[in-house]
């Protein structure tokens, strides 16, 4: 029996328990919070691994269980969990990276005053992310989707004393919210149009898979595009990518966990989970593919000109997520998930490596660094493995997954294949630039922290080594001559889909990128000091300023909304407020008028009384006389 699959619902509850315990203990229990957070994330990882092992058996049946949550009339809302091969894989990725980040943070956040709060938030995030993965219907998925957004907000703004961190947290929250609104509308539409208002993924699959005109093509496209809008927001695709680089203000382990490996991949996961809707709509698929491809090349070119170590990695993440979207849009969701799977490991590795460097030298500017390879050997080697994996150099994992995507692209759409190839070239180029500037050569800034940088403690290097090992081997589950991963994931007999042309070109792009990177930033720089920037100042400036997207948004949306707000505030103040004030003034004037009567002169009062009596008497007598 599937013992562990049946209790998969325990997996998210473990980190939740961790969050509650850590929060209840308070700030005094620093070591305890580290132990509780790490132990519980290890426990949920072990459980996820056991679930995955059960799923590896041939013909494992999807397991779904839950209970009725709300009953309204004859409509029942259920909440439950579902274990499929895809969710089992995601569980393992999330819990594994989560566990390693927990361990790593013990070193990275050692001297932080609020380390217990940090561990609490990380545990809460793990709970939300695992809940998101296990959700069996759109509504609970959406709940957890928002929860991970909140955790991201909290952790990006973790160092809230810094204005930049506060601004970044707000930006992350608000920009992703635009996408969330789209997802919410999609859920409403689904609720409206689905038979029996069902929102469960299994129902969605069966309804859209055998499209018998239950839901019209236009509505299908609309739903798919709205869902994709949610994914665009969460996964940092163009044009909602602007929050992700700013989110690097958070602690580096968070960048690795949330903004590289797990949460940003939730958008890809969402599209993969509701893939049947997308498949039912040609237009939606094309949109996904083109947005993905554009994001991939767009972000990669920005990454070429950035000088902040973490921002380069952030743009790289955006670019790789674009690759995943490209694969999804081309109809090969297994290739997208495969890239998600390998990317989670090598990008987490790169971020943690960057964190190790930042921890040692206390700067993020790569122009100041250099020569760190000698003093930080473990970091440098593991970082190199991650960089090579990202650049797509065989036999590291990134090569296999990127090759899978490029192969699909070559078969379906040569234009997107070329774009993907260019993005792969840029990827290799900027990773080489990053590696050369940070680890090779000599320190460029005379800072004691850079010259005397020491290797990080073992608690930080051990996760690096573990992730490096995974970055090397994770790709072998799916190779051009072995389609095991895709067939396992999609329950379809996988045909090996190797394309010699794609392999050769993708290796060539990676190699070319590394070589030109070496020539541009490595050797040449040492000799003449003249670099890429001097020869193409305009282009570099454009990329350095991120194509002025932020400025554009600032001018159009922020300024526009501010102006609208100011106008509305003026209307509120002068028109509405004026009316209210006028009412007050009128009442006051009436009061003043009435106050005249109250003059304190008893004689006046008695005169009024007498006059009143006279009036009454006249009235009575008059009536008598008339009647």
């Amino acid at each position: 029996m599937d013992t562990y699959t049946n209790i998969a619902w325990v997996i998210p509850l473990l980190p939740l328990a961790g969050f509650l315990v850590i929060t209840a203990l308070g700030r005094g229990f620093r070591a305890a919070s580290v132990w509780v957070g790490s132990a519980l994330s290890l426990a949920s990882f072990v459980l996820s691994l056991l679930v995955l092992i059960e799923r590896l058996k041939p013909n494992a049946v999807d397991y779904n269980n839950g209970f009725d949550w709300i009953r309204i009339g004859d409509y029942t809302l259920t909440i439950g969990f579902e274990v499929t091969n895809l969710t089992a894989l995601m569980l393992v990725v999330v819990t594994l990276v989560g566990f390693l980040v927990n361990v790593y943070s013990a070193g990275y956040m050692k001297d932080d005053e609020r380390i217990t709060v940090f561990y609490g938030y990380v545990s809460l995030f793990s709970f939300s992310m695992l809940g998101l993965v296990l959700s069996d219907n759109m509504l609970s998925f959406y709940l957890f989707w928002e929860l991970v957004g909140v955790c991201s907000f909290l952790l990006v703004g973790f160092w809230y004393a810094r204005p930049a961190a506060r601004a970044a947290a707000k930006k992350a929250f608000i920009v992703t919210r635009i996408g969330d609104a789209g997802l919410f509308l999609a859920i409403l539409l689904l609720f409206w149009y689905m038979p029996e208002h069902s929102l469960s993924f299994t129902m969605i699959e069966s309804v859209f898979d055998h499209q018998g005109g239950t839901i019209t093509a236009g509505i299908t496209t609309l739903i798919a595009l709205l869902i994709f809008l949610g994914a665009v927001g969460k996964s940092g695709q163009f044009p909602l990518h602007v929050w992700l680089p700013d989110a690097m203000e958070g602690p580096t382990p968070i960048s690795a966990l949330i903004h590289a490996a797990t949460m940003v991949a939730a958008g890809v996961f969402l599209v993969a989970r509701t893939f049947d809707i997308f498949q039912a709509s040609e237009a939606a698929m094309t949109t996904v593919a083109y947005v993905g491809a554009f994001t991939a090349i767009f972000a990669a070119t920005i990454a070429l000109a950035q000088n902040d170590m973490k921002r380069i990695l952030a743009y790289s993440t955006i670019s790789q997520l674009g690759f995943m979207m490209l694969a999804l849009g081309l109809g090969s969701w297994t290739a997208g998930i495969f890239h998600l799977f390998t990317h989670a490991f090598f990008k987490a590795l790169l971020f943690l490596g960057a964190g190790s460097v930042i921890h040692a030298v206390h700067t993020q500017n790569i122009q100041e660094m250099g020569g760190l390879g000698k003093s930080m050997r473990v970091t440098a080697w593991t970082f190199a493995i991650g960089a090579l994996a990202l650049s797509g150099i065989p036999p590291l994992s990134g090569f296999w997954s990127k090759d899978a995507i490029l192969t699909v692209a070559l078969e379906q759409n040569p234009l997107l294949f070329v774009v993907g190839l260019a993005a792969a070239f840029c990827t290799a180029l900027y990773m080489t630039r990053l590696f050369v500037l940070v680890f090779l050569g000599k320190p460029k800034a005379a800072k004691a922290s850079i010259a005397g940088a020491k290797e990080s403690p073992a608690v930080m290097t051990a996760p690096l080594i573990a992730l490096a090992a995974l970055a090397v081997i994770a790709g072998f589950v799916e190779t051009p001559w072995n389609g095991w991963f895709a067939s396992w994931l999609s329950d379809e007999a996988g045909a090996s889909h190797g394309s010699a042309l794609a392999i050769v070109l993708s290796i060539a792009a990676g190699m070319l990128g590394i070589v030109s990177g070496w020539l541009l930033f490595g050797k040449r720089r040492e000799r003449s000091g003249a670099g890429f920037a001097e020869r193409m100042p305009g282009l570099v400036k454009l990329a350095e300023n991120k194509y002025y997207i932020d400025e554009g948004y600032e001018a159009v949306f922020v300024k526009g909304l501010r102006g609208l707000g100011t106008a509305l505030a003026a209307f509120d103040k002068y028109v509405i407020g004026g009316a209210v004030k006028l009412a007050g003034v009128c009442a006051n004037a009436a009061g003043k008028l009435a106050l005249r009567l109250q003059n304190g002169q008893v004689q006046t009062y008695s005169l009024a009384a007498v006059l009143g009596i006279v009036v009454i008497v006249i009235a009575i007598i008059g009536r008598r006389m008339l009647s």
Binding site: N599, G600, V602, Q603, S606, L607
Partner: protein, 100 residues
């Protein structure tokens, strides 16, 4: 006979009313009040002698009224003297504390 008494009382009452409402000196106001009371007394006595059911009750009642009026006048004058001592005037228009 009754109408002439009543007319007399009405004239007295009206004079008293006018004095109570229009005069500024508090002493005069007090005197006017007495005038009004006496107009009422005159009515009582007139009705007790020439009314529909003549009886002694009206006259006794008027004696009561005179007694009470005397007591009232004593208290009122005492209050007026106190007021004059504290405020230095007996002008009724000066006594408008109730306004605030």
């Amino acid at each position: 006979m009754l109408p002439s008494y009543l007319t007399m009382a009405a004239i007295l009452f009206c004079i008293g009313l006018y004095g109570a409402l229009a005069k500024r000196n508090a002493i005069i106001v007090l005197l006017s009040l007495e005038l009004m009371l006496n107009a009422v007394n005159l009515n009582l006595v007139a009705f007790s002698k020439y009314g529909v059911v003549p009886a002694l009750t009206g006259q006794i009642f008027s004696i009561f009224t005179i007694t009470v009026a005397a007591a009232e006048a004593a208290v009122a004058v005492a209050i007026l003297i106190a007021l004059f001592r504290s405020r230095g005037t007996v002008d009724v228009e000066a006594f408008d504390r109730m306004r605030r």
